[in-house]
């Protein structure tokens, strides 16, 4: 085999330039930012945020043309695929990245942090995410995962002089590397059994009878556990609260939305393209992860006094909701497709509402200088607009109609309830109980902001920067729009990864 490879003449791989145009544009912008930093040093600093924002918008243009074109493009022998699923997720990543840049603008300037590097790393991480959305091969999944994680480790420790930020960076790094190692071990086992790294060929190998191998089971368990770290599902969530608290808040927003979505994308690609047939192995695993994440996340969130930690645990609980449809996805092909659509819908809506909540937290914390929930009491007296926006996001996260989060939760329940499996119904009951628990702590924050007396005397209206206003506007608009016209988001998230067709 290896001697053959040496003799065969090299054939230039046919590259579909249109399909990789978004990646190339984003890479060019990243290189441009580094070059400008090298050439002009401090003089280029004030333009970096705007430039990276424009870069993300420029990346969206080829994405749009690809979406209009609508054909499925397969590159590099199936290792890299541009289909509707990947396009929708790339759009979510870009939107999340754009909002995070809007959130970062003033935060990074005020803190006198390194600015050019910050945006360079943010774009690098984003690059890893949009690569992840297209990866259909163990190696490209892993490369994309490292590309999105390594800049994130650095960004978490960006508040260099704060020991808490350093602690967060170190914890995130160690846990992330550990998860990567576990996952890589699992991948090596999968490769060992199937003899290929392309996910669709692994599926063929399972069809051919390799699925009964115990090594295959072990590989799947390890890979799922590795991604459970990335999406912070219980019992792999322990890093999340400390990292979220220590990291600069815009980075926390980025991690809790974009990084989590990237973990989900890879998990979905692996499960639906790679080992869909082995649902008897991954379904129970996912069921336990989902039930534990919802319950533990919500119960611990009840006792939090720091809003960022609370958002971390609420994020863990939301992960449970997002992952829940996967627990019945192997039941039949149509259930599988519905589960995939439900998860993608949830990711899109969750991105908007969670980023919005963080935008409000960043703005209010700038004023109050603290992230304790009590310091937000009576926010209505000095920030009425922000209080209204925060209420929208919180109730959306809790799943109250007619906000976006309601439709996301509705889709999850629909999949669980129509699967026709006892385990599906059981998980729906767990999810329903947890929705009630979640409403309690979300509503407590809202009540404090509306009804309590402000703790400080200064009642002048809070000053909100234009970039934060636009970030909030985007998030409120998306949250409301998707809640009132759910068919809008459903039209985009009607995607399928199952090759058999239904």
């Amino acid at each position: 085999m290896s001697t053959n490879l040496l003799i065969v003449a090299f054939e230039r791989p046919a590259i579909d330039w249109h399909a990789v145009a978004p990646e190339i544009v984003l890479l060019s912008v990243g290189v441009l930012i580094t070059l400008l930093d090298i050439l002009f040093l401090e003089k280029a600093r004030p333009y970096m945020a705007a430039l990276s924002g424009l870069g993300i918008l420029a990346t969206a243009i080829p994405l749009l043309t690809l979406g209009i074109d609508g054909t499925e493009r397969v590159l590099f022998d199936g290792a890299y695929v541009v289909d509707n699923f990947s396009l929708v997720l790339k759009a979510i990543f870009l939107l999340a990245g754009y909002v995070v840049i809007l959130l970062s603008t003033n935060y990074i300037v005020d803190g006198d942090y390194w600015e050019s590097e910050y945006y360079g790393l943010l774009l690098a991480s984003l690059m890893g995410m949009i690569m992840m959305a297209s990866s259909r091969d163990l190696i490209s999944v892993f490369v994309a995962l490292e590309l999105l994680s390594i800049p994130a480790y650095l960004m978490v420790a960006w508040r260099k002089r704060d020991p808490k930020s350093n602690e967060a960076g170190l914890k995130y790094y160690l846990m992330g590397v550990f998860a990567s190692a576990v996952m890589l071990y699992g991948m090596s086992l999968l490769f060992g059994v199937s003899g290929t790294t392309v996910l669709s060929e692994i599926a063929d190998s399972i069809d051919a009878g390799n699925g009964s191998s115990s090594v295959m089971t072990l590989g799947i368990v390890f890979v799922v556990a590795g991604f459970a770290f990335k999406v912070s599902a219980v019992p792999f969530h322990t890093w999340a609260p400390d990292v979220y608290e220590g990291a600069p808040t815009p980075v926390t927003a980025f991690l809790s939305v974009a990084s989590k979505a990237a973990g989900f994308v890879a998990l979905l690609a692996l499960i639906f393209v790679g080992f869909y047939e082995l649902s008897n192995i991954w379904e129970p695993l996912i069921w336990i992860l989902a039930a534990l994440s919802m319950t533990v996340g919500n119960l611990v969130a009840l006792r939090q006094t720091n809003i960022v930690r609370l958002m971390a645990y609420s994020g863990v609980a939301q992960t449970g909701f997002m992952i829940a449809p996967l627990a019945v996805a192997g039941h039949s092909l149509s259930t599988g497709n519905q589960a995939l659509s439900a998860i993608v819908t949830y990711l899109a809506i969750y991105a908007a509402m969670n980023l919005g909540a963080f935008a409000v937290i960043i703005t209010l914390a700038r004023r109050t200088g603290s992230a304790e929930i009590d310091s937000f009491s009576g926010a209505f007296h000095f920030a009425p607009g922000l209080t209204v926006a925060m209420t929208i996001f919180l109730f959306s996260l809790a799943g109250i109609p007619p906000l976006g989060g309601w439709f996301a939760k509705f889709e999850v329940f629909r999949v669980l309830a129509t699967s026709g499996e006892t385990w599906g119904y059981l998980l729906a009951v767990v999810a329903a109980i947890n929705s009630v628990i979640a409403l309690f702590y979300y509503a407590t924050i809202a009540r404090k902001m509306w009804a309590d007396d402000p703790s400080e005397k200064d009642l002048n209206n809070i000053e909100v920067t234009p970039s934060l206003v636009s970030a909030l506007a985007i998030c409120v608009l998306v949250t409301l729009l998707f809640g009132i016209f759910p068919q809008l988001v459903a039209r985009f998230t009607e995607v399928s990864l199952l090759a058999f067709g239904v």
Binding site: A9, F10, R12, T34, D37, I38
Partner: protein
């Protein structure tokens, strides 16, 4: 349990077959240990033994060790170590490419230049931010 899995994977039927396979491992390990101890043992019997303080120092022919072993290293070493990794990895990718340069042709050349350009940006960055100076 291990035996059951092993039997299913390899198709071995009996316990003795299973054990005979492991016997190979045992013999191999035993021979390894034996060889090392015989050579070291023979050496200690044959060589003259003249102990001097010089011979007791770590790194006999290197720099004299000084001070406490818990002393702090200069953080600059770390930066240089990182820069080393940058070029080390670059080399790992360039060697196989260089060995088959004519096969890859112009396409390979352009690809490699893009790769080197992006990595060189890292070096340029370090140089411009004065990280290469040993102040």
């Amino acid at each position: 349990m291990a035996l059951l899995i092993y039997q299913r994977e390899t198709g071995l039927k009996t316990m003795s077959e299973f054990l005979r396979n492991w016997l190979t491992v045992l013999i191999f390990g035993g021979v390894g240990i034996l060889l090392v101890s015989v050579f070291l043992g023979l050496g200690s019997l044959l060589r003259p033994s003249r102990d001097t303080p010089q011979k007791r120092i770590n790194y006999e022919s290197g720099v004299d060790p000084q001070g406490d072993m818990w002393s702090q290293a200069n953080i600059r070493y770390y930066v240089f170590a990182l820069m080393f990794v940058l070029f080390d990895v670059e080399a790992v990718f360039i060697f196989p490419w260089a060995a088959r340069l004519e096969v890859y042709g112009l396409f390979g050349l352009v690809e490699m230049f893009i790769f080197i350009f992006i990595l060189a940006l890292g070096l340029l960055y370090a140089w411009r931010k004065r990280l290469l100076r040993w102040v």
